[in-house]
Amino acid sequence: MKRQFLGFSAAAAVALASTAAAMAEPVKIGMVTTLSGGGSGLGIDVRDGFQLAVDQEGGTLGGHEIELIVSDDAREPDRARQAADRMVERDGVDIMTGLIWSNLAIAVVPRVVREDVIYISANAGPSILAGRNCHENYFNVAWQNDNLHEAAGQFVKDEGHDNVYMLAPNYPAGTDALEGFKRFYDGGIAGEVYTALGQQDYAAELAALRNAEPDAVYIFLPGGMGISFIRQYEQAGLNEIIPLFGPAFSFSQDILGAAGEAALGVRNASQWSKDLENPANAAFVEDFIAAYDRLPSLYASQGYDTARLIASALEATGGNAADRDALREALRAADFDSVRGAFRFGNNQHPIQDIYMREVVLEDGVVTNKVIGTAFEDHVDAYAQDCRM
């Protein structure tokens, strides 16, 4: 309700401003994201984080009018592609963002950037877009997919574990995840197991895991798979004897609400956490809770940073998105206060950033994450060297 009201008042303000001053064309931003069906929690958080940044400025970004067009892809590549085509051809958007899933991003992004539309990814960071196929119109504000796994691998190694059991779904992002983990973890491997995508029952895997007697477990099980695994891990009594590690995706705020206290003590890698101490983050967390009455997740922070990055670029270019060279230049500068602290783009226009380790704790009766250390400082992704930009 509150959001709607904000939306209306923002729209009203925009309408008044444009009639009064007949300003320049608003910058059109297209957002295709997952708002219905499975995984919609992620898309909704990205959208709400983005919208928060717009609302904080009273309906503008960087002091310039924008028009935000949102469309739902229901996690289907076909629908994402149709929505993106419509935005590019009919609506004539200048900038696009929003895709959550890597397979959708691979289907959509190359077409969009070819049409000279800027695409700024707020989540998906497939390796294929980071390396040889990098593009001057493609930016990623979140991470390259492997980054958080690499950080966890480094951390697990630093902790002195040398017999790790690894588990991921049997699909490209799953195998990439374990590859990323092994890029920095070089100790012994008690088991490397690939499960069916969407699997809910892990009893067989847990029995085998107990039998393999590892000294640490690493999982990449996004969404509901992670919730099921974490709960079953606890029910089997394994959380008391073998420490569990993962990337932030399995332990973000939206998952923790459902996993409950079963997730306590799990350590996970993330480029953002709500308790990072910097003024931008404090303002973001406070305003997000006020606007939506829930704790922000990793995805919300990424949506918010995307909007803030666009705001910084529009401010620098005087709201002129038509001059793509200037816009790209301004985006590359990344002259904004990211909620995660220090942030800059590498040569492939993916972030160079610190990656933290967090632990799941109970805070005032709410299960949430707390930063416990830094795994990487100024981490560059492994594919940047293949990008000729």
Binding site: S36, G37, G38, S40, G41, I44, N170, T175, E192, V193, Y194, T195, A196, G198, Q199, Q200, D201, A203, A204, E205, A207, A208, N211, G223, G224, M225, I227, S228, R231, Q232, Q235, A236, G237, D254, I255, G257, A258, A259, G260, R294
Partner: protein, 304 residues
């Protein structure tokens, strides 16, 4: 050996879970000749109702007590208001209509409960694990699942084989025109069977709540396995559903547990892991294909 016993229990537990879903679906398919894709939605609604009641009151059992009748009533209203018009239609129409219902219920749940996954805690007296075989701690809640599933199977057996309602259900599965011609209120019978099926699905959903994620779309993943069970067991047959569910549960679990290791004996580890994972997720479908090739009407066909 201990590990094998534990995996057998795991397979049994998955099996009884599937049985709870499949028994309702097979009755509805057998008696009304109705393909109900929305069966998974009852599973989801049962879980969501139980989770919200349990969160409000702190009692899992109260959640269970509310969710079962609530889902059954919803299903019966839906059946008598809309779905009964579809019984005489083509299977394709039924599939389309009930697929629409899946979308409808998914969005409804999102409007009512939001897009974030929910959680349902295990009741305190079932948390922790039991050592039924020494050296193998087994989660108490999963044991309770097995016991519940077997109890429901016994109850259904008595209901179908020993009661008057069961006699009508069996008669309806064999020849529904004749049952109607003999003066049985077939519409009421259909509504009751539909409600019973939804109740069992809701029971499965509530039981699944503490181990799986309570989230939108949770019904779809189990629905596919359930259809495999129904087809393997023979459409309309409770006995077939029971045998099929245990078989699928065991094969799926054993495949996941042992296939990659067995392949490792013959292949390099990386290939074995990849191939093993793929084969394990295919194993039940291969089993289904084999059974259908040998017995095209399933293990225990219901219609004479």
């Amino acid at each position: 050996m201990l590990l094998f016993l534990e995996q057998t229990l795991n397979g049994l537990q998955l099996g009884v879970m599937l049985f709870l879903m499949a028994s309702g679906l097979t009755l509805i398919a057998g008696i009304m000749s109705f393909i109900n894709l929305a069966h998974g939605s009852f599973y989801m609604i049962g879980a969501f109702v139980a989770a919200s009641v349990a969160q409000a009151t702190g009692s899992f059992m109260l959640g269970l007590a509310v969710a079962l009748p609530a889902t059954a009533i919803l299903a019966m209203v839906l059946e008598s208001g809309a779905l009964n018009r579809l019984y005489d239609r083509d299977h394709l129409d039924q599939v389309l209509a009930t697929f629409g219902l899946i979308l409808f219920f998914n969005e409804l749940v999102k409007i009512v409960w939001g897009a974030q996954p929910f959680y349902l805690n295990t009741p305190d007296w079932l948390s922790g694990s039991v050592e039924i075989i020494s050296g193998v701690p087994y989660p108490a809640y999963r044991l309770a699942l097995i016991v519940t599933g077997l109890a429901v199977a016994l109850f259904l057996y008595l209901l179908i084989q020993r009661s008057r309602l069961g006699m009508l259900i069996r008669a309806g599965a064999s020849n529904r025109e004749m049952v109607g011609a003999l003066g049985v209120n077939i519409k009421l019978l259909y509504t009751l069977v539909f409600g019973l099926g939804a109740l069992l699905a809701a029971l499965a959903g509530v039981m699944a709540g503490p181990i799986y994620a309570v989230q939108i779309g949770m019904g779809e993943s189990i629905l596919i396995l359930t259809f495999v069970v129904v087809v393997v067991g023979g459409i309309g047959s409770i006995r077939g559903a029971f045998a099929g569910a245990l078989l699928i549960g065991l094969v799926d679990t054993m495949g996941r547990a042992y296939l990659p290791d067995m392949l490792r004996l013959a292949l390099p580890p990386a290939t074995a892991d990849n191939l093993g994972a793929s084969l394990a997720s295919m194993s039940i479908y291969i089993l289904m294909a084999v059974i259908l090739a040998l017995r095209p009407r399933g293990l225990f066909p219901a219609h004479g």
